[in-house]
């Protein structure tokens, strides 16, 4: 149904239709900017992905809990508050603690380039610059999921 183009790259025990990519679009901490999260949710939906939106003001533990129940491939966090370093650190640690670090973490929003290294270091899998267009967002997520393979 979706993602036909990545099919041959997916690992797994048998060749089968690639399942839909599932994404949890999440807002962490005291950050009320939700316009970008909603725009991203729609972009991903239109690219054939199944998107769950966390709602505002979630803690890392709440986001990880939802990601596990929904068995998402990706947590896409939209963060504009400036608290990205500690919040992504806590999110990625919580994923590891819950043995859920197969879930890919993608960061978007307002994130200055000089913090990229720190985020990657703490476990973030990709950082999407604010001015990225929808094509770039979609491709980045598809590529990550294809590289990780079936779970």
């Amino acid at each position: 149904m979706t993602l036909g183009r990545d099919e041959d790259k997916m690992a797994g025990p048998e060749p089968q239709p690639t399942p839909s990519i599932r994404v949890l679009v999440a807002k962490l901490g005291l950050d009320g900017h939700d316009r970008g999260a909603k725009v991203v949710a729609r972009i991903l939906r239109d690219a054939g992905m199944e998107v769950i939106y966390s709602g505002l003001y979630k803690t890392p533990a709440q986001v990880v809990d939802a990601a596990i129940q929904e068995d998402v491939d990706v947590i896409g966090v939209s963060l504009l508050s400036g608290s990205h370093v500690p919040l992504f650190g806590a999110l990625c640690k919580s994923l590891r603690d819950q043995q859920a670090d197969h879930v890919l973490v993608v960061a978007g929003g307002v994130i200055p380039e000089h913090d990229y290294d720190a985020l990657i270091e703490s476990g973030v899998d990709a950082i999407i610059p604010q001015e990225a267009g929808s094509e770039l967002i979609i491709t980045a997520i598809r590529d990550l999921v294809a590289a990780r393979g079936r779970i």
């Binding site: 939106y53 590289a147 779970i151």
Partner: protein, 330 residues
């Protein structure tokens, strides 16, 4: 501008047969993964799903259906709190439509339930229809099996917002609650005759609105006219409620419990279970056959051409593909 990316190592794949004992022990991660594999129709998961089905059968499955925006998710949020008593582990499968164009979906029910689900340790799973019609997804049934096998009960199914005839919930749940928002008034019969008939319980949402009482009256009026196809000795109650304030939630919970009791005492539970099993077998037959011919089989292509050119016809082609001949059918 550039996307900063880590290099990703392929994840290891855990066999579904290894997940079965984890599901039975209640591991949320294992439950969630099995649901995904059912949705993705992994052949590798078929044996595990078959095993889990055999462990299920204890849960009370409650369907919540009604028009979009009627308040289903908000109501379930309130029911999660009301039902999370004692040893009850509550689960929810919430279905939303996939876009027919992109195949994608925004699954918006979870956001309304997340606070009460977190407080009560309820398991909430959002699910897209993936092209399935009738108000549910194909894998909704299997998700219920998995959660049931893991010890969850009650299990609430939220259907997609339905119109007239998306009544599949009737063959997935033991108890069906049809939720109607206020203001449907006189039009209520015309709007949703099919959906209204499947209710074991009628609920009118948003009783904080003035029109709610009139809507309840209209539904009672409709029920008083009776139905020729009386399915049961159970008389569906008509309740009004307001989920945010909690008004009417306890009464609804009691009605749900009473209906379960009725099913058990009257023996109707056996009939329901049989009906559910029957629908599932038939739906699976249908699905397997379609899958066989959808797969672009050469025989299908030949028949397709013949029917298009009118050198054959749909019935003859179908019978031929199924390996039937008219003598057998007679």
């Amino acid at each position: 501008m550039f996307v900063r990316k880590k290099s990703i190592n392929p994840a290891s794949y855990r066999a579904s047969s290894d997940l079965v004992p984890l599901v039975l022990a209640g591991s949320r991660a294992a439950i969630a993964r099995m649901i995904s594999r059912a949705e993705g129709e992994y052949d590798e998961a078929a044996g595990a799903l078959a095993q889990l089905y055999r462990h299920a059968g204890r849960a009370h499955v409650v369907g919540i259906t009604g028009v979009p925006g009627g308040g289903k998710s908000t109501l379930i949020s309130a029911l999660i709190r009301a039902c999370s008593t004692g040893d009850n582990k509550v689960a929810i499968v919430a279905v939303d439509p996939s876009s027919p164009y992109s195949g994608g979906a925004i699954l918006g029910d979870r956001i309304r339930m997340s606070d009460s689900a977190e407080a009560s340790q309820a398991f909430v799973r959002s699910m897209a229809t993936r092209g399935h019609l009738g108000g549910l997804a194909r894998a909704t049934f299997q998700a219920v099996d998995i959660l049931d096998a893991a010890g969850y009960s009650p299990i609430f199914i939220e259907t997609v917002g339905v119109g007239q005839d998306e009544v599949e919930i009737m063959t997935a749940a033991h108890t069906v609650v049809v939720l109607s928002p206020p203001g449907l008034g006189d039009d209520i019969q015309a709007i949703k005759a099919g959906v209204m008939e499947i209710a074991d319980i009628h609920a009118v949402s948003k009783s904080d609105r003035p029109e709610a009482a009139a809507t309840a009256t209209a539904i009672r009026g409709m029920l008083a006219l009776g139905s020729e196809t009386q399915r049961s000795s159970w008389a569906p109650p008509v309740l009004t409620l307001s989920a945010p304030s909690g008004a009417g939630i306890d009464a609804l919970k009691q009605a749900i419990d009473s209906h379960l009791l009725h099913l058990m005492e009257s023996g109707e539970m056996v009939t329901r279970r049989r009906a559910i099993a029957r629908t599932r077998i038939l739906a699976t037959i249908n699905h397997l056959i379609r899958r066989r011919f959808d797969d672009g089989a050469e025989t299908m292509a030949t028949q397709l051409a013949a029917v298009t050119e009118r050198t054959s016809d749909p019935s003859t082609a179908a019978e031929w593909l199924l390996g039937l001949n008219r003598a057998d059918l007679a």
